[in-house]
């Protein structure tokens, strides 16, 4: 009993932070209609900023934390809204575009953090005094008490502000119909700026409070904050009260799991993974089980992510483009093995990225969990190739990835946009935590290259050629997906689901099919990546550093452009070779993604449009200053 209480008190420390993070996400969502996927990245950035101020610049701690939380964070939030999200809202971009923009912001901020402060772990200073108080035989940390106080104050103040007040009504009006709110004299900008300011300030608190208990690294802290997505999901993105309760409960629950020890038996590993990943499980379970999860405004599909029309590229031009691509991709074959080895990651990664094109560009579905599919392909291939011929193992890996893909596809039949994105992300994190990081599954894995009807592919040149064959097959599949009855059915389902159904297209079957094809392809790419390095590295299939970054890169270059995906793969590998770190590509990708609002359809199609002399103009429904003066009282 005493232990239970003691653990509960310890759990409240993390629980209160999770609650604050969740409240921040809910507030921003309710005030702006944007679910900020960059919440964790911003929290990490601000935690680093705080560390920089205190440790390097010698700013007193009593000044630094309030400065970051109450001044710098809100200012950054407002600036971010003005520079990035206001243009999107003014041209009434779809929720899917907003979502990708927050993803771009995430990539940009993580990139900025690594550029400014590197990736080595830092020791972050504590924000609140950490004295230990004794109550009877219980020990309470003073900072936990202060944190709980902060949660209470924040929750109550925000609940009052967004409740039955004038401001609360304005907030709901702006989120429901921005244009009508504008016409009825609501100061739309003020509501949005407030939402972003409060959200960013809360992400700052989250980062500052979490950093001391973890070591401060760009991805580590970010992922912990991303896991707190469980809180807003359980609160169905609306109730601040539920968010507070859910955050605290998850914190306590996580701590209580430490009471029970399962050290042997088949589920020991699973239980140990659960002990540190309760939030991930809660996120996935909440997304799969909670009924009536509905987005505010229009439920967005990814339709708007791909270019607006089915482009009729002239046969000659596409032949030229593919010809150049083939020459570039094949040229490493002329190099000696040492240089060739550095290019071996390109076709494998390209196959994975093309699989994202299949799902997002053609299927119209967002997937933030593709590293999970790719990793499963790699892992199953590696495991199976111990006993079976490598080629059979390869097929086995692809099928394993495909199976998880189909399971992920089921919720996608009914869900779109944000909740599907979160579901795929949750699947990716779950697979990573429970499978890839499970030592009994991934320890001492021996990866071999396949033998193909007696032809050994262990040589670097023959293996690279094999990779190219796989890429060509993937590209042929993509070509078949955009032509013939199948291609038309996919575009039809993307353009109008009602119309497609009325024409006899089985949307559910088509969705599962697209997920299956995409996941099988991702599994193939993942297996190729593992064969490239001759190892299975869970970090190569990270749910944050890989899934989110890959998806953003694909969308930036044009979600329905397979050649763009191949290009992206080349860029990733080249940047890594030039700078020695895979984070070098983050800044440009993030920047381009944030600017996606100005290049609907991706950079490539934007550039081709500019090349043809078409300036992408958007009719912006916006009141002139006179109009604004007329409608506001």
């Amino acid at each position: 009993m005493l232990l239970t209480l003691q653990l509960a008190l310890a759990g409240l420390a993390f629980g209160s932070v999770a609650a604050l993070s969740g409240i921040g996400l809910v507030v921003t969502y309710r005030a702006t209609g944007v679910f900020n996927l960059a919440h964790g990245a911003i929290a990490t950035f601000l935690a680093y900023l705080h560390w920089e101020l205190v440790t390097r610049q010698g700013v007193p701690e009593a000044v630094a934390a309030p400065l970051v939380v109450l001044v710098l964070a809100p200012v950054l939030g407002v600036l971010g809204y003005r520079a990035v999200f206001r243009p999107l809202q003014e041209r009434e971009a779809s929720p899917a575009e907003s979502l990708v923009t927050t993803l771009g912001l995430f990539v940009l901020v993580v990139g900025l953090t690594t550029v400014l402060w590197g990736t080595s772990a830092k020791r972050a200073p504590a924000v609140f005094p950490t004295a230990r108080l004794s109550v009877g035989s219980l020990t309470v940390r003073s900072d936990t008490l202060v944190q709980l106080g902060v949660v209470a104050v924040v929750a109550v103040v925000l609940a009052v502000l967004t409740g039955p007040t004038r401001l609360g009504a304005d907030v709901r009006a702006v989120v429901d119909r921005r244009d009508l709110a504008l016409l009825s004299g609501v100061d739309v900008d003020r509501v949005n700026e407030l939402g972003w300011a409060v959200g960013t300030a809360l992400s700052a608190i989250t980062g500052l409070l979490l950093a001391p208990s973890l070591s401060l690294t760009p991805y580590g802290l970010t992922l912990v904050v991303l896991e707190t997505f469980a809180v807003p999901v359980l609160a169905r993105l609306s109730s601040l009260g539920v968010a507070t309760a859910a955050g605290l409960a998850l914190g306590v629950g996580q701590a209580e799991l430490a009471q029970v020890h399962v050290t042997s038996g088949p589920f020991a590993d699973l239980y140990q993974a659960l002990q540190s990943n309760l939030l991930v499980v809660a996120l996935l379970a909440g997304l799969l089980l909670l009924p009536s999860l509905r987005e505010v405004g229009d439920a967005g599909t990814a339709r708007s992510l791909s270019s607006r029309r089915v482009r009729r590229v002239s046969r000659r031009r596409s032949a030229v483009v593919y010809g150049v691509a083939v020459v570039l991709l094949a040229s490493p074959l002329a190099f000696p093995a040492e240089q060739l080895r550095q290019a071996q990651a390109v076709p494998g990664l390209a196959v994975v990225l093309v699989s994202i094109v299949v799902l997002t560009g053609y299927g119209g579905r967002i997937s933030l969990g593709h590293a999970g599919f790719a990793g499963l392909g790699a892992l199953f291939f590696a495991k199976l190739s111990d006993g079976a011929p490598e080629l059979i193992a390869l097929v086995g890996g692809m099928l394993a990835a495909g199976a998880i893909g189909v399971l992920t596809g089921y919720p996608a039949i009914r869900r779109r946009g944000l909740f599907l994105a979160l579901t795929t992300f949750a699947v990716g994190v779950t697979v990573s935590r429970f499978v890839f990081e499970n030592p009994s599954l991934t320890a001492s894995i021996d990866v071999r290259r396949p033998t193909f009807f007696g032809l050994h592919l262990s040589g670097d040149h023959t293996f690279y050629a094999f990779e190219l064959v796989c890429l060509v097959v993937a590209l042929l599949v993509v070509r078949n997906l955009r032509s013939g009855p199948l291609g038309r059915a996919l575009v039809a389902a993307r353009d109008s689901e009602d119309g497609a159904r009325a024409s006899g297209i089985d949307i559910g079957r088509l969705t599962l099919f697209t997920f299956a094809v995409s996941a099988v392809m991702a599994g193939l790419g993942g297996a190729l990546l593992a064969e490239t390095t001759l190892s299975f590295d869970s970090r190569a299939f990270d749910p944050v550093g890989s899934s989110l970054v890959w998806f953003t890169a694909v969308v930036v270059l044009g979600a329905d452009s397979a050649i763009g995906a191949v290009l992206a793969s080349g860029l990733f590998v080249t940047m890594q070779l030039l700078t020695g770190t895979s984070d070098a590509a983050l800044l440009p990708i993030g920047l381009l993604a944030v600017l996606l609002g100005r290049f609907p359809g991706g950079v490539l199609s934007g550039l081709t449009a500019l090349g043809r002399g078409e300036v992408p103009t958007q009719v912006v429904p916006r009141l002139s200053s006179t109009g604004r003066a007329l409608v506001s009282r």
Binding site: R308, R309, V310, L476, V477, R479, N480, L481, G484, P485, L486, G487, R488, A489, V491, A492, R494, D495, S496, D498, G499, A500, R501, A502, S503, G504, I505, D506, I507, R509, L510, F513, V517
Partner: protein
Amino acid sequence: MTVLDARGITKRFGGRVAVDDVSVAVEAGRVSALIGPNGAGKTTLFSCLTGASEIDGGSVLFDGCDVTGLGADERARRGLGRTFQRISVFGSMSVRDNLLVGAEATRRTSLWRGLLGFRDRRASDDLETVERVLVLLGLEDVRDDEAATLSTGRLRLVELGRALCGRPKALLLDEPASGLSDAETDGLRAVLRDVAADGVGVLLVEHDVRLVMDVADHVYALAQGRLLSSGTPEEVAADPAVRSAYLDRSAT
């Protein structure tokens, strides 16, 4: 012959009964019409017939089979074509491709065969159907235009064409004449007669009373979710209940 037979259809939204025990039948080769004031439940009844929404009571028989539990896509493949009040064409496709989808999708094409790039054996039949329908609806001049660029009137025809390409046994049209010019409405009238003459059963929801009186063989009048009256256009128009519920009100 009755091609679509709906009996005792009931649909509730929460506590509100939107459609209350309504029975309608669509005869092959004849045009039936569903009329009623705004909020009478016409479009709701329509979605119940096409399978777009599930029903809380009653049954739908199509072509002699009970299709009550089947989804909209399955009913479409069995030959129940429809158009929408809110136009739902495939905006980024050409007019021809829109119609081609209508012709292809009524067969359950094998997705995996498509993935592997096998040709569809009946592709030439489909193209023939599409060309015939393009001519029938006078859409030849825009066959290669992107659908999103067309006017409302043309889009209604594209939607109708898409449904026709599926070789429907019954055709359900939700306000096909709204947004059409007088000339286009005349054209539509002729097309509806042609289609019915081919043996297709047509059911339309329509506000244009003149069009209904002109082409319908049989009229159902709906008000507040209930069937008020049914019969020939003349009988329904003369029914005092209908006059008070609908015709008079629409005159004001």
